[in-house]
Symmetry: C2
Subunit: 224 residues, 2 copies
């Protein structure tokens, strides 16, 4: 019964794995264990070794870095149909994790042992390409984030983050925005209050209402 | 005669390739072309496609990102015995380069066609591990840089950069330090002048002399 449901999960979430029809890949899929994790669970932390490759089926895992002073910054989210690049990196290099991963809501995933992962990397051209493509895309993402943090002032990045929500009513606290941007809550609050004084947004507890998206767009695209 | 010298270059710079003794790897080595590039040549730029894998034999290539306003930041240097992670990433994903690469001094490298690269990734466990390890190490490096830029104030990062030179006489201009840190020259000059006023460094054109390394170490390790 369980093997049927696992097969269905592969078909629904990773149909390209089934379609590839490679023997090496089939044995990887057969060896995968289904894991369910509660909300808010730490799945990896800085300095930990990595023992398995995860493919997320439901929910998401956020990977974030933390300063010595306790400030956080979101690196990326691993969502359904994705794998975690830091996990891949640690598996491949034998290095320890440089960041932490925490489940957001309940997460269901396939866990693949490092042994099965390595064997499949050697045997399946499809799997190598799958792993590499995810890896490359994330490296580009991290470089884009670095570019943003280095070259853009915090007001520019805050305006961009607000517009990225694609809604005029944004249900995020100042702390959540600070974590996304790797900034301190007080800094974000100060800028939001300035935006409010300019008439660009109105603030309620846990909500930011956008009143003038064009003005925010000007700030978001200003050259630094 | 040329093939003997290529063989010697492999032996000197990448002895582990010879030692691995894999057939798939030998054909990769045989297909590599020796290229020589002058100083200051752009080897890749943002938006360009990637067609070959480079293994640097002599000299170094700096990979840097550039803001719309023209500010630069050094991502990393590819030195002798190394490969460029962005090149690997672009080869593997088919994506365009997200940064630019420029030779520092004359550079000698082995250029390997994307075809030979792909074939060897499928055939050689040694080569896969080589490529992955370099890739993973660089991803960790980029995340560490992101952490530094996000969480550390510019004075902390400048003090760290000065101490990293491991000499009391540092032959770098304010612009070179600004590029390393992704900051503006004026910002770096202002902080260096402050360090000078405190008696921690003395400044001459193109040189920074460290007078009080302990004071700099205090700034370099302060929590943000």
């Amino acid at each position: 019964m369980e093997s049927i449901s696992a097969q269905q999960l592969w078909e629904t979430n990773f149909p390209e794995f089934i379609k590839a029809g490679e023997a090496g890949l089939n044995s990887l899929m057969a060896s995968a264990k289904l894991v369910e994790l509660p909300a808010g669970q730490q799945v990896f932390y800085p300095g930990a070794a990595c023992e398995q490759y995860l493919l997320v089926l439901k929910g998401s895992v956020k990977a974030q870095i933390i300063s010595e002073g306790g400030r956080e910054m979101l690196l990326y989210r691993v969502c359904s149909g994705e794998s975690c690049v830091l996990t891949t990196s640690c598996l491949l290099s034998g290095d320890k994790y440089p960041a932490e991963g925490i489940t957001e809501g309940e997460v269901m995933a396939f866990a693949i042992s490092s042994h099965a992962f390595y064997r499949c990397m050697g045997r399946s051209a499809f799997f190598r390409e799958f792993v590499f493509k995810k890896f490359s895309a994330r490296l580009s993402g991290v470089i884009a984030l670095l570019e943003d943090v280095t070259f853009n002032a915090i007001d520019t990045r805050l305006a961009k983050a607000l517009l990225a929500e694609e809604s005029d009513v944004i249900l995020l606290t100042h702390q959540e925005l600070a974590t996304t941007l790797g900034s301190a809550r007080e800094v974000i609050s100060r800028h939001l209050k300035r935006f409010e004084a300019y008439g660009w947004v109105s603030l309620n507890s846990g909500t930011v209402n956008i009143l003038n998206a064009n003005a925010l767009l000007n700030v978001a695209t200003k050259q630094n």
